[in-house]
């Protein structure tokens, strides 16, 4: 009778593995992907496919160089999740090599070089996104418009999408346009009311399209919350801060600033709040820390959108807050049982 000798606890919550967590997050993006595909064509799906292949290839290559078990680590689905998030974030018509560049940077530099899953200080997907956004601004600023507002009056078919991605579609300009955020950013000194009437990117149909996309990601995020994979702290703080910022500045200058609703229903607001900012590895860890972290991202998004050089600022906001996450963690420890107050900072060597 060979009895197993291990330390307690002897049971584990069944089925709730890291791979399960990753799968659930991927699944939670499905509504959003569906809405994006329905509105903007197959581009995103093809991007996700390309990104996934690139991500798994990069991960496998680096793992074998690091002499780690390739199968074991590929099965944690983390590389796949990064690929999916990047595929969603990149414009549907972006050339394939942009996607591949973004994904390989994300996997190789932002993740594996730091030691793999769990050791990356920055959100890999956002690192990849930021790299291509800075390096290739032209393809990155082209987003496919909904069929009723683009000049061609149609959305890209699957074949056209493929052609666009492999750069063999000369008529691509007929399908793309600026995003509402881009449009609003470049309205110059025109006041808001005029801008919404004149700029094509700000037409109601386009705004509604983005509203649907955001609602879809909100639903996916709520599913994650319901599954207890994420806590409410980061998304609520992020969206709250974004609302407060845009609300305050809207009240200051009604004629030129956008409404808070515009801010949280366009661009990557919901996607960022529920899928990017909640990446546990690179975010804050305590509940209070997550509140500060989320609020910081919200504020930075607004700042970058309004005064920065980019129409949307989720990627940079998240990366900036990734920097400060360890510091925030030191100052937001929860009050442990039996302690009068929580410990702050890291007073190593002093009274414990």
């Amino acid at each position: 009778m060979a009895l197993l000798r291990i330390s307690s606890p002897h049971t584990q919550r069944a089925g709730h593995r890291t791979s399960w967590v990753m799968q659930m997050v991927i699944l939670a993006t499905v509504p959003g992907i569906a809405v994006q595909t329905w509105l903007f064509g197959w581009g995103n799906l093809i991007n996700i496919l390309i990104a996934s292949i690139a991500a798994l290839a990069c991960e496998a290559a680096i793992l074998s160089i690091r002499r780690r078990s390739v199968g074991f680590f590929l099965k944690d689905y983390s590389a796949l999740l990064t690929a999916v998030l990047l595929g969603i974030a990149l414009p549907p018509s972006v050339p394939w090599w942009v996607t591949v560049t973004a994904v390989s940077f994300a996997i190789i530099f932002a993740k594996q070089l730091y030691g793999g899953l769990g050791n990356n200080p920055f959100n890999p997907a956002m690192v990849g996104y930021a790299i291509v956004l800075v390096s290739f601004p032209v393809p990155m600023s082209q987003w496919v418009g909904v069929q009723s507002v683009v000049t061609s009056g149609d959305s890209l078919s699957f074949w056209q999408s493929l052609q666009a991605i492999f750069q063999t579609l000369p008529t691509i300009d007929g399908y793309t346009m600026a995003t509402p955020l881009d449009g609003f950013k470049n309205k110059e000194l025109v006041d808001s009311a005029t801008a919404f009437n004149t700029i094509e990117a700000l037409q109601t149909a386009n705004l509604n399209a983005w509203l649907w996309v955001n609602i879809a990601y909100l639903l996916g995020g709520l599913a994650l919350f319901w599954l207890r994979i994420i806590t409410w702290h980061t998304p609520v703080a992020l969206l709250g801060a974004l609302l407060v910022m845009s609300g305050v500045f809207y009240l200051f200058d009604v004629s030129h600033a956008a409404t808070p609703l515009f801010h949280i229903t366009t661009g990557a607001a919901m996607f960022g709040a529920f899928f990017i900012a909640t990446d546990p590895v690179s975010s804050c860890t305590s509940n209070r820390g997550k509140l500060i972290y989320g609020a910081g991202i919200g504020i930075l998004i607004y700042i970058i959108r309004t005064w920065g050089g980019y129409p949307d600022g989720v990627a940079f906001a998240v990366l900036l807050m990734n920097f400060s996450a360890p510091l925030i963690d030191y100052y937001t420890q929860p009050r442990s049982y039996g302690h009068k107050k929580s410990k702050k900072g890291l007073k190593v060597g002093e009274e414990k």
Partner: protein, 914 residues
């Protein structure tokens, strides 16, 4: 009866309960196994001490092992039978190691020993009840096995707001407490009432999880029937609500402060099993010999609760519950969350075994391989102590112990909730356990290395001192040989051969005395060093420092003495080469001056120490030091006196010397000063005595000083007579002159010595008497030895008294036996000096005597240490049995016998010398 308010605690998990399986069958009572194995350490604290021998027949309930210290417990025979062995057996312990167990072969008769219920417990004193509980071997049956009487004692120190009975039983699978409440509701409530009578808390609450409706109903029914004040608080099922800290938070809303105990916030927790055991112990007089245990797990075909005798091997229980060995994959003692795995089923049930979980592979599958932590925070949400497990893991892995401690690692209760929820299957608790133990190890290592450093420095200092001493000796030897060579060369040159010995005599006398002083000093140094070593070994920091100081002091003294000696041994050349008498006088006078300075120095030192003593009147250390210095002082004073007398003959030796009166007058003066000094000292000591009237030490000292005073006065008288005598023969030859003057002081000296010896002997008698009294108080076995010693000491004192009387009567035959007998504390150079006269055997004897003296001193130090430790043990509130059990009485006895032996040897030796 209103139900109490329920609070909540952070985190917690809801694992599958799996409690139904073991509640299908009624309570089982397995048959007697063929042998019972009773580990001696079934509780927290020291293991019990066996009271019976192999082969003894014991009755059911008979005490077979007694408690072995404050935090220990009794052990009883669970059934009647024969003790088949006291040996190492495998026990149920996470380490999987074996431990000392008593093996009992039941005879099947179940013959009870006489039971002693505590009938009128309400009228009994709390301490009496607690003592009864201790004797019944009651320990906390919830898990840790903390001796109940100790816990109750601790709780009774502060007023209690809540007395909580822990019936939560939050671990999955376990139903032993549930079954116990159902089966023994009345006993439980009576047990709670007894405990409440002892601790008198404001509220008595039974905390129970809502998954035990039958037990709750039974409790409520009986409580309302009895109209009891005891409340039942039903808490929601959530692991780990049965953790002491969590249950306290659930029922009182208060948290036990980190690093403190529940009693500090006025809460006492007891497990239901303990309460029932208390009931049995008080009302039925039955000791703790059985307990309820859950046998469960899918590998058992008849999972159930059993009431089982302690010591029953688990194999026996597995057979009883029809275990399927082919399916058994993991055997867990305790629940699946906090239990530990067993290597084999051949281990016994102990007082804290609440569950045996015989799991199949499907039930408790092999854990998945550990994946990377993604800091998902699920552990943080589950942690009942509100820690950040993911951060702790990070710090544990990177061995950043300070950070881990800063993140309150030591508040982790190791409940396993974090590991349970971890999606990456990280054995978090195991990481924390490992880090905790490495932090503890590091702390211990720190303390150890500090001590080692100190020890090393002390050793280095000692070695340096030894080297210096050797060097000094070498120089002295060199100078001595040089001097000898020159003296050998000079005799021919000497104009007056008669003058040379006369002039050399005092100097060689001086050298002799100094040599003796050095020997004594070295002995003292050695003694101090030995003490220092002992202190270092025992790791007493304060003592080490004090001793180190003393050692260095002693070393400097010794060095000074040696320097003086080398100077003196070099001087004999001077008088022979220079016939001028004034030159001869100079070194002696120098000596005198130096000795006087020494006296002054020692006086200052003693004063300082006395001041210290006033601050800390109980400091034996300081007292010892003072005694040592006083001895030194006496020695140096003797030197002063002798030198004073020596100057006289030296002066007389000079041909130009006209009167012998002057030196005698000098002596007289000195003697008078001595009288005055001693008077002052006695006055001071009396004052001290007034402060601490019971200080035997001071009394003894006063006696010594008074004796000194008497002697000094006698000297004064004699000397004031002497001038007349000496002036009658001013023109006599040097030799005769010397004889007359010299004859008087020796007698006075001897007399003085005798008096001192007598006083010391008397003091010794008193001390031994005191020791005897103490020994009788604690009924120590060494009382006889002390009595023997007392008789010896008294004999010695009376001997000395007689000798003193003889001496006073003018008999010149000084009783050297008596003087020698008192060797260790007397003015030692006198005896040594007396032993010298021309007999060839004398130096060897003196050497032997010296060695014996050292041994005596060591033996005495040993006795003192042992006595001190015994006193300390008493202070710590240990009872006699424990003190008797500790090593110190034995050591004391040993030291005392050695001392007696040595003293006898010394006596014999000194008689031989005569």
């Amino acid at each position: 009866m209103q139900s109490p308010q329920i609070f909540s605690f952070h985190g917690g998990i809801h694992p599958e309960e799996n409690k139904a399986q073991s509640l299908q069958l009624p309570l089982g009572r397995p048959s007697l196994p063929s042998e019972l194995v009773l580990p001696l350490g079934q509780h927290i604290g020291q293991a019990s001490r066996p009271l019976v021998n192999v082969g003894d027949r014991v009755l059911k309930g008979q005490i077979i092992a007694t408690n072995n210290g404050f935090l220990s417990s009794y052990l009883h025979a669970p059934t009647s039978g024969t003790i088949a062995g006291i040996e190492e057996r495998a026990i149920a312990h996470p380490s999987g190691l074996s431990d000392l167990c008593m093996v009992l072969w039941p005879d099947g008769k179940e013959e009870w020993t006489e039971l002693n219920p505590l009938d009128n417990w309400q009228a009994q004193d709390a301490t009496h009840v607690l003592a009864h509980l201790a004797q019944m071997g009651i320990v906390g049956m919830g898990g840790a096995g903390f001796p109940t009487q100790v816990k109750l004692q601790g709780a009774s120190k502060s007023p209690l707001t809540h007395f909580i009975i822990n019936a939560a039983e939050c671990e999955p699978y376990i139903t032993a407490d549930d079954m116990l409440i159902r089966e023994k509701t009345a006993e439980l409530i009576e047990g709670i009432e007894i405990l409440q009578h002892l601790v008198k808390a404001d509220n008595v609450v039974i905390g129970i999880e809502d998954n035990k409706p039958t037990a709750i109903a039974a409790l409520n029914a009986l409580l309302s029937e009895r109209g009891s004040e005891i409340q039942v608080a039903v808490v929601p099922t959530k692991y780990p609500s049965g953790g002491e800290k969590q249950l306290i938070q659930l029922l009182t809303g208060k948290e036990v402060p980190s690093g403190q105990y529940p009693a500090d916030i006025g809460v006492l927790c007891q497990n239901v099993g303990t309460c029932v055991a208390v009931h049995d112990a008080i009302l039925a007089g039955k000791p703790l010999i059985s307990r309820f245990t859950t046998l469960t797990g899918d590998a058992l075909q008849a999972p159930q609760n059993v009431e089982v005798l302690l010591g029953t091997p688990i194999t026996h229980l597995l057979d009883y519950a029809d275990s399927d060995e082919t399916k058994l994959h993991r055997l867990v003692m305790g629940g699946p969350m906090m239990g530990y795995t067993l290597d084999s089923a051949a281990v016994p049930i102990v007082k804290t075994s609440n569950c045996i979980l015989a799991a199949t592979k499907k039930e408790l599958p092999t854990p998945n391989p550990e994946q990377a932590c993604i800091r998902c925070g699920m552990c943080e949400q589950a942690c009942p102590a509100s820690l950040l497990p993911q951060q702790l893991l990070w710090f544990s892995k990177s061995q950043e112990h300070e950070k881990a401690e800063h993140y309150n690692l030591f508040d982790c209760i190791e409940c396993g909730a974090c590991s349970y929820v971890c999606p990456s299957s990280i054995p978090l608790v195991q990481y924390y356990r490992h880090t905790k133990s490495s932090i503890r190890e590091a702390r211990e290592a720190n303390v150890k290395s500090d001590l080692a450093k100190q020890r090393f420095e002390a050793r280095k200092a000692r070695q340096d001192a030894e080297a210096a001493e050797k060097e000094a000796k070498r120089i002295a030897r060199q100078q001595a040989t040089a001097a000898k060579a020159s003296t050998k060369a000079t005799p021919a040159e000497q104009a007056e051969p008669a003058k040379a010995p006369a002039a050399a005599a005092p100097v060689s006398d001086e050298a002799k005395k100094l040599k003796i002083d050095i020997a004594i000093g070295k002995t003292k140094l050695k003694k101090r060093q030995k003490e220092l070593l002992a202190a270092q070994e025992a790791e007493h920091l304060e003592e080490i420092q004090a001793l180190q100081l003393q050692v260095t002091e002693q070393e400097t003294q010794l060095a000074a003495l040696e320097a003086r000696l080398s100077k003196i041994s070099a001087t004999p050349v001077v008088p022979s080469s220079a016939p001028d008498a004034s030159r001869e006088k100079a070194p002696v006078n120098d000596e005198l001056k130096k000795a006087k300075v020494d006296v002054a120095l020692l006086g200052v030192k003693i004063k300082k120490l006395n001041k210290q003593l006033a601050d800390t009147p109980d400091d034996q250390e300081t007292k010892d030091k003072i005694a040592g210095f006083e001895k030194d002082l006496a020695t140096v004073q003797a030197i002063v006196k002798k030198l004073g007398t020596a100057t006289a003959p030296a002066t007389k030796a000079a041909p130009e010397n006209s009167t012998a009166k002057a030196p005698i007058n000098g002596d007289l003066k000195k003697a008078k000063v001595d009288v005055a000094l001693l008077g002052v000292k006695i006055k001071k000591l009396n004052k001290q005595l007034a402060d601490t009237p019971d200080d035997q030490e001071t009394k003894d000292k006063i006696a010594v000083f008074e004796a000194d005073l008497a002697t000094a006065k006698a000297t004064v008288e004699k000397l004031s007579v002497a001038p007349a005598e000496s002036s009658t023969a001013p023109s006599e030859k040097t030799s005769s002159n010397k004889a007359t003057t010299a004859s008087a002081p020796p007698i006075a000296d001897d007399l003085k010595k005798l008096k001192i010896d007598t006083a010391i002997a008397k003091a010794a008698v008193k001390k031994v008497e005191k020791a005897l009294k103490k020994a009788e108080e604690i009924q120590a076995p060494e009382a006889d030895a002390i009595r023997q010693q007392l008789v010896e000491a008294q004999q010695r004192a009376s001997d000395l008294d007689k000798a003193l009387a003889d001496a006073v009567n003018g008999t010149k035959t000084t009783d050297s036996t008596a003087t020698e007998a008192k060797a260790e504390a007397s003015v030692p150079e006198s005896s040594a000096a007396e032993a010298k006269p021309s007999t060839p055997a004398a130096p060897a004897n003196a050497d032997a005597a010296k060695k014996r003296k050292i041994d005596l001193a060591i033996a005495k130090a040993g006795i003192k240490k042992a006595e001190k430790n015994i006193a300390l043990l008493k202070e710590q509130g240990k009872d006699e049995a424990e003190i008797t059990a500790s090593e110190w009485p034995a050591k004391l006895l040993e030291a005392q016998t050695k001392l007696a032996e040595l003293e006898a040897a010394t006596d014999a030796q000194s008689q031989e010398n005569n």
